[in-house]
């Protein structure tokens, strides 16, 4: 659906995007994550044709965004990190105005607006003035506005910022529903716990480059494999420690009561072999698992600066 190659953009001396590559298959709900100033909004604005890239290529559903600007706009819907509403305009009029911006007029526009207002649960607010809506309602209205021309790719920049938990949950449910309808979505957000539940794939951007990209399973697997291994020993702790100290994959060992935390550089087969070795040596193992990684921990590991990385490494090694 979306293919970005070697995208570059600078603002004066600041290099906002430094050869960004990104690929999103059709029907994905892609989480776009990165620290402030990493280049998320710049990337999204370039995709939405609001900014001109210095170089690179963008292909959306077969349309070369650099050559066919109108074709690109027909394919995408953009929800920015602000509402962009008019005073003195009712909800239905606001929707019909944006419908007419896409050349949808008359009865067709009215029908489409009614459908979308129902979809975002604003049908009873059609005759309300837009500036009188609550924050959550405005956000839902913006989503409906972005869907007015039935785009295939929906770009959402920080859509849940400033929303209360209930509204946020309702909003994420709407995004899941859109994905089920076959739309491809890019969601940039700082609320990582929600992205991990919502997204099917994720990309982490740092200093204008994509540093990690893949499906949620792949990324968690990749990150989990570098997480510590937790072994709960019921009896024969000395024997267990002796085996672990001599194992080539074991980097660090920390013991807390009957639980051992290992820095273990090995794949799933190595893990299985180690477990077998412990059992063969009459060590009674009551628990054996990798510590689960969260999107937050991945994000912190990847985006941490050198000093922070050293602290994180120390924390991991010392079992803090």
């Amino acid at each position: 659906m979306l293919e970005i190659r070697n995208l570059r953009k600078h603002y004066g001396n600041f290099q906002a995007l430094n050869g960004l590559d990104l690929e999103i298959p059709e029907g994905e709900l892609f989480g776009f994550v990165g620290p402030n100033g990493a280049g998320k909004t710049t990337t999204l604005k370039i995709i939405a044709s609001l900014l001109l890239a210095d170089s690179g290529s963008i292909l959306i559903d077969g349309v070369n965004a650099m050559k066919d600007n109108r074709g690109l706009k027909e394919k995408i819907g953009y929800v920015p990190d602000f509402f962009g509403v008019y005073d003195n305009l009712k909800v239905s009029e606001y929707m019909e105005f944006f419908a007419s911006c896409y050349g949808i007029e008359g009865r067709q526009a009215r029908t489409r607006c009614t459908e979308l207002l129902e979809q975002v649960k604003l049908e009873d607010r059609a005759d309300f003035f837009v500036d009188g809506l609550s924050r959550g309602m405005k956000q839902r209205l913006c989503l409906a506005r972005a869907l007015i021309h039935d785009p295939r790719l929906l770009i959402l920049d920080e859509p849940a910022s400033g929303l209360d938990p209930r509204t946020r949950m309702e909003f994420t449910a709407m995004l899941k529903e859109l994905r089920e309808q076959g739309k491809t979505l890019i969601v940039s957000s700082h609320i990582l716990s929600e992205l991990s539940e919502l997204c099917t794939s994720i990309g982490i951007i740092e200093q204008g480059r994509m540093v990690l990209q893949g499906s949620m399973e792949q990324i968690f697997e990749q990150v989990n494999s570098s997480n510590p291994l937790l072994i709960s020993v019921f009896s024969n702790m000395e024997q267990a420690l002796a085996i672990l100290k001599s194992h080539p994959c074991v980097q660090t060992i920390s013991v807390k009561k009957d639980e051992i935390k290992l820095g273990f550089l090995g794949d799933r087969q190595d893990e299985a072999m180690l477990l077998q070795q412990l059992i063969d040596a009459d060590v009674m193992v009551s628990g054996f698992m990798r510590e689960k990684g969260s999107l937050e921990s991945i994000f912190m590991q990847i985006t941490a600066h050198e000093g922070e990385k050293a602290v994180l490494k120390h924390e991991m090694e010392s079992g803090l």
Binding site: L50, D54, G56, R70, Y86, E93
Partner: protein, 327 residues
């Protein structure tokens, strides 16, 4: 016919506001009071002297036209200078730019709305302006000419406002800029001519005894052509032709000295209207260009690295040749 979405929305929103009704009331109220006083004084004079002063009706026509002109000069920039920047401040410009609507439609929609507002004011003033027809003195063709002149002034001031609005992010700043440009255009070009004329006169006075001063009269020289872009001068020329002396040379020579004898001076109104209209079109085109975020697609973008590679290659060849030459 497909309506411009921006124009349609502006009309809808403005029709809900009381602002336009208040402007219409004030504008026509002032004109009506002036017209009534004028008629009253004419009637009183007839009672006293048994004479009708027809020139008073022409004065009324001139007054209404002048008020309309001043209004165009001051209201048009206010309406247009906050149009695009206002959308930017409300953060709705980006939303419109992501739609398939052409940026040209955004700029033109805003401009049409401002022109419609002005047209509404001008049309609402027609009954009072038409009082002049009761006793004659101005023809329908004159009125049409005045409308054309006002239309061009509206396009020019609107164009200045639109350009400032598309260029600057804040409405306050763009409004101030638009007014500064208009003041420079109206008072600046006039002042430049008066200054040039005075300087030339001083120079001539210094050589009063030379034979040259006897044959040459002081003038503002080439600065006179700057006035072609001055809408106030054009309006003055139109009104002078309709309700004044009929020849713009007389006031021009009083203000700016000797005039060159050429086709520009002979067809001053036509040429100045044409030039001002051209300036308006250029300003509007520049506004559209400024609003458009991505221009001409990525061809230019993708060709840049290749071009710079070619340039680098050429430079390397030149350096190699230079070293070979030195060796």
């Amino acid at each position: 016919m497909k309506w411009n979405p921006v124009y349609k929305r502006e009309l809808m929103v403005s029709s809900r506001s009381i602002r336009m009704a208040v402007i219409l009331l004030l504008f026509n109220g002032i004109l009506a009071i002036v017209a009534l006083f004028n008629l009253f004084s004419v009637v009183e004079q007839v009672k006293l002297t048994a004479e009708i002063q027809y020139s008073r009706f022409l004065e009324l026509y001139t007054f209404v036209s002048f008020i309309e002109f001043i209004m165009l000069l001051f209201i048009m920039p206010a309406l247009t200078a906050s149009s695009v920047s206002g959308e930017r401040e409300k953060q709705t410009l980006e939303l419109m730019l992501t739609t398939t609507m052409d940026p040209r439609e955004i700029v033109l929609g805003k401009l049409w709305f401002a022109l419609t507002t002005m047209l509404l004011l001008a049309v609402s003033a027609l009954p009072i302006q038409s009082l002049v027809f009761v006793y004659g003195g101005v023809t329908v063709a004159d009125l049409a000419m005045l409308f054309i002149c006002h239309g061009v002034v509206a396009a020019l001031t609107g164009g200045i406002g639109m350009f400032c609005s598309s260029l600057l992010k804040r409405s306050t700043l763009s409004t101030v800029c638009a007014y500064v440009v208009i003041v420079l255009l109206v008072a600046g070009t006039y002042a430049a001519n008066v200054f040039a004329f005075r300087m030339d006169m001083n120079e001539l006075n210094a050589y009063v005894y030379t034979a040259n001063s006897a044959v040459r009269r002081a003038s503002s020289g080439g600065f006179i052509y700057l006035l072609l872009l001055n809408p106030a001068i054009t309006f003055y020329a139109v009104i002078t032709r309709q309700a004044g002396s009929g020849d713009i040379r007389v006031p021009f020579e009083q203000w700016f000295g000797a005039l060159p004898d050429n086709a520009v001076i002979d067809h001053w109104i036509l040429i100045s209207l044409g030039l001002q209209l051209l300036a308006a079109v250029l300003l509007i085109a520049a506004a559209v260009y400024t609003v458009t975020p991505v221009r001409g697609g990525g061809k230019r973008v993708q060709e840049e690295p290749e071009k710079s590679r070619q340039n680098a290659r050429k430079l390397r060849v030149k350096i190699a040749r230079f070293h070979a030459f030195r060796a």
